[in-house]
């Protein structure tokens, strides 16, 4: 085993060890803050459930029946105990088990996020690389202006325009993108295409710029010139020397985007009626459905933290120079 691979394994193990301790602590703090903050916002779950015509006594009775009238600490401890035991409680809004609801929506968000990711990453790499190789030319400027203009348009505007074209005029997709999870996969993919495209467009400009900048730096560096001069084929130069170096800065952005995409996008989900986690959490917060919000926040938090961990691991694997702060501080 070489010194480099031993060092890399040590860095990886250290990173994993630290994150195994950090992630539960972060999630615990987030869960406490969420539980407390939900008490601060105006609204009463009993009033939400029974409407304006219920009396105060009826609202109070409903809250009591649903275990919402005890002390904050007592209720939190009861919830966290149940959560670790696998009982996430019942959603007050949807009258459905929180676990079933959150896991189902997480699956939908993961699928949509991955679909958007699959659309976005190859397009960004292709456009960014093309721009770097054609730096300063008219096509480079045109792509930059086009993408920046597109990113300046809010998601809901792009979404509405796409809905008008593809749902109302051409009628090739439905307005509501909530396809049955047990249905035909191709049909599911079809209804998810517009939300995935809108999600991808939101991040495409920045990602393309990152790829362009990384590639541009790589192809003007000494090692690139050496690789060309020693007679490597252009494909080999790009594969072995350009991509690997150009994508290091891009990876950090990708990690953050991946976490965000997987956690769901409220605007896109709401616009297309897509049953993702983001819209679910907004509803839970608005209606003070504390158990649903807690379950959703814990899962979203875990997914985001794991996505960041994945990014860090990719960093180490792609760039042996990366050591992270604990090693650097020695």
């Amino acid at each position: 085993m070489t010194t480099t691979s031993v060092e890399r394994r040590t860095v990886l193990l250290g990173l994993l060890g630290r994150r195994i301790v950090q992630i539960p602590v972060v999630l615990l703090v987030v869960s406490i803050l969420t539980f407390w903050l939900l008490q601060v916002v105006p609204g009463n779950p009993g009033r939400n459930a029974l409407g304006q015509y219920a009396t105060v006594a009826q609202v109070r009775a409903w809250n009591h029946t649903n275990g919402l009238d005890g002390s904050l600490v007592g209720r939190y401890l009861h919830w966290i105990g149940g959560f670790f035991a696998g009982d996430w409680g019942q959603s007050l809004v949807y009258s459905t088990a929180v676990k079933e609801l959150v896991i189902g929506r997480l699956g939908n968000s993961l699928l949509l996020g991955l679909y958007a990711f699959v659309i976005m990453v190859p397009v960004a790499i292709a456009l960014g690389s093309a721009q770097a190789y054609r730096e300063g030319r008219r096509s480079d400027r045109a792509i930059t202006v086009g993408l920046l203009s597109l990113s300046a348009v809010p998601e809901f505007v792009v979404g509405v325009v796409l809905l008008l074209v593809f749902a109302v005029w051409l009628r090739v997709v439905p307005v509501q993108s909530a396809a049955d999870a047990s249905g035909d996969f191709l049909d599911r993919l079809r209804v998810m295409t517009l939300p995935a495209v809108v999600l991808a467009l939101g991040y495409l400009a920045v990602l393309t710029r990152m790829v362009r900048s990384g590639t541009s730096e790589a192809i003007t560096s000494q090692f690139h010139r050496t690789a060309v001069l020693k007679g490597l084929s252009p494909a080999a130069v790009v594969r072995r020397h350009v991509i690997r170096n150009a994508l290091v800065p891009t990876l950090s952005v990708l990690g953050i985007y991946l976490g965000t995409l997987l956690g769901g996008s409220v605007i896109v989900e709401t616009l297309f009626g897509y049953p993702g986690l983001g819209a679910l959490l907004v509803t839970a917060a608005e209606r003070k459905d504390v158990l649903l919000l807690e379950g959703g926040v814990m899962i979203t938090g875990a997914v985001s933290l794991l996505a960041l961990l994945l990014t860090d691991i990719c960093f180490v694997l792609m760039d042996p120079r990366i050591r992270f702060d604990a090693r650097e501080s020695r």
Partner: protein, 521 residues
């Protein structure tokens, strides 16, 4: 001639068109069946029907539903004893007839024979008794309980197996109308209040709830055991939940749903003449409640001045897109059997306003919730255009407006705008005008009005009722504790493939009646 300037533009257009075409082909290729994924096809002659709603904000339980969307979800799968048609006339549903005792202190309701719940079990008197015991009982969490307070004493099986006797605290000649109210659909006697109805949605409605997908949709199939199943032509109904009215409109335009609620936006977007439209039916009023205990509104002249300063016709046109009737300041919906006589219709009269104000400067804030923002803004503009008024508005979220506690804005702010669903005139007296009533936002008190209202409830002849209605309306109008700019109607724009006529409004009093409706989509 193609110049160097036009060439890139043309190229861009071609590229754009090619992108759209490519994506369309791709999407179409992915489609397994073509068209919308949400519209389920049907082999039955009546076809299937898809409609759009906002996601319910209250519980989905016939006994405790508190918002329109949840009522729709439960209303398709359950049914009450009586409903109202578009003109407000009572229609027998699970009940075949009803009759008051000679002293007016009880009503005997006869049930239809051979009615079954969707689980196949027979629906009988014991189920009706259990339902009303639960709604109006001491520990009831049903918002519908308020309709029966001080009126319904007890419910018991009648002398025959198919009758139920409702004993009253006092004679109430309009009692059958209360049986069309919210939360009154009949549930099995075995149903326990507060249990999760949506998991076992048993009812005696026209459809059977097959699948509820939280936040997305509800699917129903025709109930073969429904007492009038032969007139229910549709084999299936689907409710899709949309984020807002705009999304519903797009879904209607795309053919994804078969109806959309008529609104100013719908009127301006669609060429309504190209579609069908249901008969408008009265469903609510948006009342301006004036706190008669607080200056400057403690002066009846100021309250009357406000009522005369607003332009009701303009409000009907701009706020309701014509889907409302100009109202006077008393609470008798135009489709109610007895209409007050002799109270002149208030119209904007700026000379009279000037006289009533007498040079006084009137300053107040209208507090309301986001749903009433448009009306609040129009009223503010109209009043501020009249010398003497300085009106501001405060818009709150629903949670803030209806917040619990002694200082809740909707019952304590000096001027509020709140919408109320259609009810009986005496119910409004009991809920909104009666001394110390729970929802008396005006803090109004007038024992004479309360006495007249009780006499009205006891009245047996139409002539007697007419006289009392005239006096009640005169007091409400003169004292102007509540300004009623308009009585709103609701209707739906339907796709042309929808055949048949809805007999009543699509709401709880109307009983969500789909008999006679079919869809050739």
């Amino acid at each position: 001639m193609i110049t160097s300037r036009t060439r890139p533009r043309r190229a861009t257009r071609i590229a754009l068109a090619a992108s759209v075409a490519a994506l369309s082909v791709l999407l179409a290729a992915c489609s397994s069946g073509g068209g919308s994924s949400s519209g389920s096809s049907s082999s039955a002659s009546g076809g299937s029907y898809t409609l759009g709603l906002a996601e319910p904000t209250s519980t989905i339980d016939p006994e405790t539903t508190g918002d329109y969307n949840a009522m729709y979800v439960v209303g398709l799968a359950s049914e009450g004893l009586i409903s109202q048609n578009s003109k407000g006339v009572l229609q027998p549903r699970l009940a075949s007839s009803w009759k008051a005792a000679s002293d007016g202190l009880s009503w005997t309701v006869t049930l239809r024979k051979n009615v079954k719940f969707s689980n196949g079990k027979a629906l009988g008197a014991k189920d009706v008794v259990a339902t009303f015991d639960s709604i109006a009982g001491k520990d009831s969490q049903s918002p519908g309980a308020s309709s029966f307070q001080g009126i319904l004493k007890s419910v018991a099986p009648g002398s025959t197996a198919d009758t139920v006797v409702f004993s009253l605290d006092r004679p109430f000649s309009d009692f059958p109308y209360l049986l069309t109210g919210s939360n009154t659909t009949i549930l099995p006697a075995s149903y326990k209040a507060g249990t999760n109805w949506i998991k076992d949605p048993v009812g005696a409605g026209q459809f059977i709830l097959e699948k509820y997908t939280p936040g997305q949709s509800v699917t129903y199939k025709k109930n073969p055991d429904y007492w009038d199943a032969k007139h229910v032509k549709l084999s299936a109904v689907t409710i899709n939940f949309y984020a807002d009215a705009q999304a519903q409109l797009l879904a209607f335009q795309s053919g994804e749903i078969d109806q959309v609620a008529y609104s100013p936006t719908v009127a301006s977007t669609l060429k309504v003449a190209d579609y069908r439209q249901t008969t408008p039916a009265y469903n609510k009023f948006d009342g301006i409640f004036l706190n008669v205990k607080q200056a400057p509104l403690d002066d009846v002249a100021v309250r009357q001045a406000i009522a005369l300063a607003i332009d009701r016709k303009a409000i009907v046109k701009s706020v309701y897109a014509g889907q409302a009737t100009v109202a006077d300041d008393y609470l008798y919906f135009p489709n109610y059997a007895v209409q007050p006589d002799g109270v002149p219709q208030r119209e904007q009269d700026l000379a009279k306003v000037k006289q009533l104000l007498g040079g006084k400067k009137v300053r107040f804030t209208i507090t309301t919730l986001t749903d009433e923002k448009t009306l609040a803004e129009v009223v503010q503009q109209q009043l501020n255009a009249v010398p003497g008024f300085d009106v501001s508005i405060k818009i709150l979220t629903s949670a803030q407006y209806y917040a619990d506690g002694a200082s809740t804005p909707w019952l304590n702010a000096p001027v509020t705008i709140t919408n109320w669903a259609q009810r009986l005139p005496s119910q409004y007296v009991n809920l909104l005008y009666k001394t110390g009533a729970a929802w008396n936002a005006s803090k109004y008190s007038n024992p004479a009005l309360e006495k007249l209202s009780n006499q009205y409830d006891e009245a047996k002849t139409t002539a007697e009722k007419q006289t009392l209605a005239d006096r009640i309306a005169t007091i409400e109008n003169t004292d102007t504790a509540v300004i009623v700019p308009a009585f709103a109607t609701g209707s739906y724009v339907l796709q042309k493939t929808v055949k048949g006529t809805f007999s009543g409004p699509q709401d709880f009093p109307g009983g969500f009646d789909f008999r006679g409706i079919s869809n050739s989509k």
